[in-house]
């Protein structure tokens, strides 16, 4: 049976029988059987050991028990908000900086002014051609009415 035990093939009942056998010393046993005695004695002592389990700590289950999770979520939200705000601010600052750079450079300022005046002139010319047409119409009307 001991050979079966070493092979890991014994049943719980057989192991109990071995435990009972080795419970009392057998000095006349052959060496092959003696070697198992300390192990069985150790197992018995460990099994009989009384464990003093410290009393359980009472853990109050409050909604705030996961406060670190909530704090982490809040921190991430604040972080994202701050990053978005900073990004917007940076973009605005970049636009202002570009405008300032344009005004500080005389050539670019001249070019920009020229472009703006050309646009104005183009629009004004559009109005002139319409006024010219109106003037022809007025002249024609006067001729028909025989005023001249």
């Amino acid at each position: 049976m001991l050979e079966k035990y070493w092979e890991g093939e014994t049943s719980l009942e057989e192991e109990e029988a071995l435990r009972l056998f080795f419970r009392t010393p057998h000095p006349d046993l052959p060496e092959a059987l003696q070697e198992a005695a300390p192990m069985f004695q150790y197992f018995r002592m460990e099994a009989e050991k009384v464990w003093e389990v410290p009393p359980a700590r009472i853990v109050k289950l409050s909604p705030m028990r996961h406060w670190m999770k909530y704090a982490a979520i809040l921190l991430v939200a604040v972080g994202i908000g701050y990053a978005v705000k900073q990004q917007g601010q940076r973009e605005r600052q970049a636009v202002v900086a570009m405008k300032e750079q344009e005004l500080n450079d005389p050539q670019r300022a001249f070019d920009e002014t020229k472009k703006a005046l050309q646009l104005l002139a183009k629009n004004l010319n559009k109005g002139t051609s319409k006024m010219q047409k109106l003037s022809y119409f007025n002249e024609a009307t006067s001729l028909v009415e025989g005023k001249e």
Binding site: G8, A36, Y42, F43, M45, E46
Partner: protein, 171 residues
Amino acid sequence: MSLERFLSQVVPVRQKLYRFAFRLLGNEEDAQDITQDALMKVWGMQEKMAELQNMEAWCMRITRNLALDKIKSRKYRVSDGLDRAGELPAVQQQSPHAVAEQNDVMGKVHVAIQALPEKYRTILQLRDIDGHSYQEIADILDIDMNDVKVNLHRARKGVREKLQNLQVYGL
């Protein structure tokens, strides 16, 4: 899971969980922490309880996983055999010399078992000290029953060889 079920089925195995955690960690305070964490985890996973066949094995598996995580998480020093060799209960014997000799032999067995890899050691303890069946050990460790037998054989063989090397024989 209702509070009643938790109190009637889970809380009674607390001592077993503590003992199991203590054997893995070798430290009272950490064993207590792990037991508490395991119970909290079981309570947190209550919806899974209905499908369980062996609640105790499940609780022990959770305890083992938490204890192993703790060991892995930092350079955890599990108290070795020599630390606890002196704590072994003295055997009732007549002569002080015999008591000392007995404690010395028990200390050597303890060291031999502690020197085993964790899996072998746990299987040996669950079988030979706690008297669990092969199936229960397989459930606790979440392994196949044949693996339990093979590992148990290796564990016993390992201890046997160590004791033979130390020339520790029957008293």
